[in-house]
Point group: C2
Chain length 198, copies 2
């Protein structure tokens, strides 16, 4: 059995934000392999996060981020279950990351569920015409449209956008990590973004 | 002729934000009477501000204000004519005051021009019914409704709200003062406000 060094635990912890005990267990289970341990923690985290996703979120904070020079600003409300968690530095840090993301990447909606049906229909139409104009055969056009629609979601929906600081995860993944870390359901309720001259 | 002391000039300056020369002139014209000098400066300022109110405002800044504990936040975009003015501390200070006002007083619109016609009609109807229910005679009900509608505007329209730090002026008055002070047209373009649990 491979040795589970403190360095490995630290590395895993930095990557996931999971607790020391969980990191150690995952590394033991993965026989010291960081990548496997990551996978194990992710699955556990996702399972935990899914369990918490139904719990009511009535507390929270409002966070702002102003881009250098004041030309762009974002305001975000994120919710959690208790005021205790709302006051933690971790929760504030998550709010800060999300406000930065909104300022930088200008999403239009929080999640794909928020996109109005008529916008999706219009987008599908445009994508279909594009695919046909590119000479794609009719029978695969539907699949192409679905694929490109996912791209539309990942550009316009905050939770599906790749995180600007680490594009291997989405903002939704980041939120799930914090759900695991803080042990409470967390929801991005709403955001707003102004850019001078936009 | 009354002596124009430095103290009086300072006092007038603190109250109006006008330049030293303008304050001295106004005090001379008012024979040392602060109240009269205030009136003179206000008229001059208003005249200058009115002249500037048509000029294009394409520059500006986005300012945020988060209320103690992060339970309420406001984001405001204010515009001016040049980036030079947008970068001044005075302009930032105005933005800060307006963001604080929005956080504290929760306005719904920037100006009365933004209130949708159907909202005004509905409000008028309610006010009319209230006045009649109070037993006011029919022939003065219209006047009462108009008066109370102004109250609706001063509660819901940012520019008509009394400033939380000095309710002798409205936010619109405050903006006009800064137009005079900074020599450029200034517009509050938009704002947004989130309160946790609202």
């Amino acid at each position: 059995m491979a040795e589970i060094t403190t360095e490995k635990i630290k590395e895993l912890r930095a990557k996931t934000g999971a607790g020391i005990v969980d990191c150690k267990k995952a590394l033991q289970e993965a026989d010291g392999d960081i990548e496997k341990a990551l996978e194990i923690l992710r699955k556990k985290g996702a399972a935990k996060a899914a369990k918490k996703a139904d719990r009511a979120t009535a507390e929270g904070i409002v966070v702002s981020y102003i881009h250098a020079g004041g030309k762009v600003g974002a305001l975000v409300e994120i919710n959690c279950e208790t005021d205790f968690v709302a006051r933690t530095d971790d929760f504030k840090a998550l709010g800060h990351e999300i406000a930065m993301q909104v300022a930088a990447m200008n999403p239009k909606y929080v999640s794909r569920e928020e996109v109005p049906a008529e916008i999706i229909e219009k987008e599908k139409e445009i994508l279909k015409e594009q695919a046909l104009a590119e000479g794609k055969p009719e029978h695969i056009v539907e699949k192409i449209v679905e694929g490109r629609l996912n791209k539309f979601y990942s550009e316009n929906c905050l939770l599906e956008q790749p995180w600007i600081k680490d594009d291997s995860k989405t903002i939704g993944d980041l939120v799930k990590e914090y759900i695991t870390k803080l042990g409470e359901n967390i929801k991005v309720k709403r955001f707003c973004r102004f850019g001078v001259g936009e």
